[in-house]
């Protein structure tokens, strides 16, 4: 089923491995994001796939055929570079036609296909312009058109939106997804912007220090992070600590959190301490204690009005957490700085940390 297959890919620079046995399978027509902090090896991996860098180990296959021995010009992969890399001495038309001319396509056919793809990226009428005469977003679209027009087997996008302003970025990413889905082209989208990755990907490969931490759909990455790194890198999290009071059968424990008791599905030992992550929007607050004994007494340190929701900065003993509460649930005017409120969360929303377990 997988179209692009990467197995145990390794890249070493001066004896340090920057890509460490990276394996990944991408389905045909899928949009896979590489998401990770700066320097985690995203570009390096992409360059190995495109053939600009030699691999120091591992395999790259497209459609069950190894492409490793092929030079970049034989790999049929379209790449969109971070800085667009348009040919400055060629017009928009010539830039887009470049790959077609190399493929000995007839002049008439070149003209037709260039016009078609320029229409797709909404740049008809710009054929005679030079890259210098285009805005960043327009250059980016030429670069995309240039890569798409050759109908590549795989489309590689290296942070294609990072040079654009926020608004244009959002607009462009929607256009990219639209075109990608329309053409059904297998795509790798490199980004270090998690919101971008969550918004556009079919699946996300979260990378950290040359390794893939988790590959999953955006929802699963967000709701079921498999490693501490993923928990903390994707979205925002609070860290809370609980102490195991009692161990039950069927992998449940009674835990003690800052004066409250909860039964959580987790495998652990009596008296051990466990760290959990919990997202700000998973925390509820009450102005008066419930009678179930699962609420935690906190002090409101600060609040921040964010339109549809309000962010409350809460102090629990010596720990600080934030809770995002919809303004339709609680009127922020009712909660005062320095007052006591009660925080509650559902045990199933707790994401256990892998460390300290």
């Amino acid at each position: 089923m997988s179209y692009l297959k990467i197995e145990n890919l390794v890249k070493t620079y001066n004896k340090t491995e920057v890509v460490k046995k990276l394996s990944l399978e991408i389905k045909k027509g899928e949009l896979m994001s590489f998401l990770g902090p700066s320097g985690c090896g995203k570009t390096t991996t992409l360059n190995m796939i495109a053939g600009f860098l030699d691999v120091d180990g591992g395999k790259i296959e497209v459609d069950n055929e190894s492409v490793q021995h092929l030079p970049p010009n034989k790999r049929e992969m379209g790449m969109v570079f971070q800085n667009y890399a348009l040919f400055p001495h060629m017009t928009v038309f010539d830039n887009v036609a470049y790959g077609l001319k190399l493929r000995k396509v007839t002049k008439v056919e070149i003209k037709r296909r260039v016009q078609e793809v320029l229409e797709m990226v909404r740049l008809s009428g710009f054929e005679k312009r030079y890259p210098k005469e285009l805005s960043g977003g327009q250059q980016q679209r030429v670069s995309l058109a240039r890569a798409l027009v050759i109908k590549p087997k795989v489309l590689l996008l290296d942070e294609p939106l990072s040079n654009l302003d926020a608004k244009l970025r959002q607009q462009m990413r929607e256009e990219i997804v639209e075109i990608q889905k329309e053409l059904g082209i297998t795509t790798i989208f490199v980004t270090h912007d998690q919101e971008e990755a969550l918004a556009i990907s079919d699946r996300i490969a979260v990378m950290f220090e040359g390794r893939i931490e988790q590959v999953d759909t955006p929802a699963d990455i967000y709701n079921h992070p498999e490693t501490d790194f993923v928990s903390q890198f994707i979205g925002e999290v609070n860290r809370v600590r609980g102490k195991v009071l009692e161990v039950y059968e069927n992998n449940k424990c009674k835990l003690f959190f800052y004066g409250s008791e909860q039964i959580v599905s987790i495998h652990s030992k009596q008296n051990s301490e466990i760290d959990f992550f919990i997202r700000p929007e998973k925390i509820q607050i009450l102005t008066s204690p419930s009678n179930k004994g699962d609420e935690i007494k906190t002090i409101v340190e600060r609040k921040m009005f964010l339109g549809p929701k309000t962010r409350y900065f809460l102090k629990i003993e010596d720990n600080h957490i934030v809770a995002d509460i919809s303004n339709t649930m609680i009127n922020p005017n009712d909660i005062h700085q320095g007052s006591n409120v009660f925080a509650i969360w559902k045990p199933e929303d707790l994401l256990p940390s892998r460390k300290g377990r």
Binding site: A50, G51, F52, P71, P72, N73, K74, R75, E76, M77, G78, M79, F81, Q82, N83, A85, L86, F87, P88, H89, M90, Y98, G99, L102, R103, Y130, P131, K132, R146, A147, I150
Partner: protein
């Protein structure tokens, strides 16, 4: 010698200007928007240079231009009458026209040869990294550290009839008679190329280094081989460098005096040499001035013509 230098600066200035326009066409608009006061601050820094340029170059040049339309007076040098005779004399004498043609020919061949020799060198240096790059650059520049006269006599030792090359070839039995290498256009060109190629290397290297590697990668990614990438991306993007280098090499070559004097001798007379003859030996300033201006004129035309060919259909020269 005096004329030689003046011509160089004049040409570089002229051509440099139009070249700058080509290259930075798009930035001019931006500059206009800046506040007036800023522009004046910038001009203040230029004033000393500008003053030297005007007083020690433009004004003397202007007087020389006027002088070239005066008659020759055997006792005072410059006569009192106005005349076109100096220019007519040059144009109508096959000997002088021959000298002009030879000068331009040597200049063009020297330029062409330096481009061919320098490009691969510049390419390698631009590719090199760190220390290696510094050493290679120093190596290329090292000829400039040695006096031109010494370098020329080095070539005399190599090229003369009983010089290193001829005696080696004769010992090998490849030739019976020594080849006439020295005191020919060939030896002048060899010497000039040696002297001038660092300028070309530096100039081409500059434009090679400005090429973004991702542009080259994009070309390969789209299916171009390394050779194709070179011919359709690298080479067009280095045309400005080739052009700037050519202007320098050509101007320095047509106005050079030492190299043709030592390596060409009396057989290979060039414009700077006959100018020197007129001014310093015959003391005929008006005619010397006319010869100087004819060279400036021809060299400018050649460069303008050359730039037209080079930038023809390639707007890329103007971009980047």
């Amino acid at each position: 010698m005096l004329y030689g230098n003046q011509k160089i600066y004049y040409l570089l200035e002229r051509v440099g200007d139009s070249y700058m326009k080509l290259e930075t066409g798009s930035t001019i608009n931006i500059k206009k928007k800046k506040k007036k006061k800023k522009i004046w601050d910038a001009w203040l820094l230029v004033i000393p240079t500008l003053a030297v340029f005007i007083f020690f170059f433009l004004i003397p040049l202007f007087f020389l231009f006027i002088t070239s339309f005066k008659t020759f007076d055997a006792s005072t040098g410059i006569g009192g009458e106005w005349t076109f005779q100096n220019y007519i004399k040059f144009i109508s004498d096959p000997f002088y026209l021959g000298v002009l043609w030879r000068t331009v020919k040597i200049g063009l061949i020297t330029t062409l040869v330096t481009i061919i020799i320098s490009y691969p060198v510049a390419f390698q240096i631009a590719k090199a990294k760190g220390k290696v790059k510094n050493y290679l650059t120093l190596l290329v520049l090292s000829p400039l550290l040695i006096s031109m006269v010494i370098r020329c006599y080095g070539w005399v030792i190599l090229l003369s009839n009983n010089g290193v090359i001829n005696s080696s070839l004769m010992k090998l039995g490849w030739i019976d008679q020594p080849l006439e290498l020295l005191y020919s256009e060939f030896s002048v060109i060899v010497g000039m190329v040696h002297v001038l190629f660092p300028y070309m290397v530096l100039s081409i290297m500059g434009s090679l280094e400005r090429i973004d590697t991702s542009v080259l990668r994009a070309s390969q990614n789209l299916g171009a081989s390394s050779l194709k990438t070179f011919t359709s991306v690298t080479l067009p993007l280095t045309l400005p460098g080739i052009f700037a280098g050519s202007v320098m090499v050509f101007s320095l070559s047509v106005s050079s005096f030492v190299t043709p004097s030592i390596l060409g001798g009396p057989q290979v007379k060039v414009m700077s040499y006959i100018t020197y003859e007129q001014v310093a030996v015959m003391l005929n300033w008006p005619y010397g001035g006319a010869i100087g201006f004819i060279l400036i004129f021809i060299a400018t035309i050649t460069i303008v013509f050359y730039s037209k060919i080079l930038s023809k259909s390639k707007k890329g020269v103007a971009i980047q």
